[in-house]
Assembly symmetry: C2
Amino acid sequence: MQLCSIQNNMRKLRFNHDEMTQQELAKNIGVTRQTIIAIESRKYSPTLELAFKIAGVFQVPLEEIFQYKPEKS
Amino acid sequence: MQLCSIQNNMRKLRFNHDEMTQQELAKNIGVTRQTIIAIESRKYSPTLELAFKIAGVFQVPLEEIFQYKPEKS
DNA sequence: GCATCATGTTAATAATATTTTACATTATGT
DNA sequence: ACATAATGTAAAATATTATTAACATGATGC
């Protein structure tokens, strides 16, 4: 499956935050669990708005969660 | 017209970077001028990938260009 | 064994972002 | 006056992201 160009460590952050589940994170930022799954598995990148919300939950700068990896030339 | 929830200072940055035009910025990051116009006028938010590319052009952290302003309760 | 919870997969639909094209406006230079 | 460059506006078409729902798996506890 095609990976998107944005890497992330949401999964690691969830575990470091009291093993927050995908469901809890989803509810926290107001999206469905499917969206969390898709982002964690790099099926697609979140919107900028969603990325900011996620950074807000974990209280870290956005760039600490998401990194741009061009991949394509 | 409805504004999106992400603020930005691309316009200011363009002028501070040798008065870079919308056209030049667009070409730099590989999108059309319409996309730059839409983002600058907050018609919609860029994708996370685009936001990273724009930050790359201006060589500043993403959060220095884009700020999340919830607006809605 | 059975129920429950967390995670994963797939597919269809809805919502949003981006492209393309065309035309308008304002300022600048000749 | 005319040409050009930068910006703005609008609409339709396409691409990407997000939602919803249904079903599957592995782990845990009773």
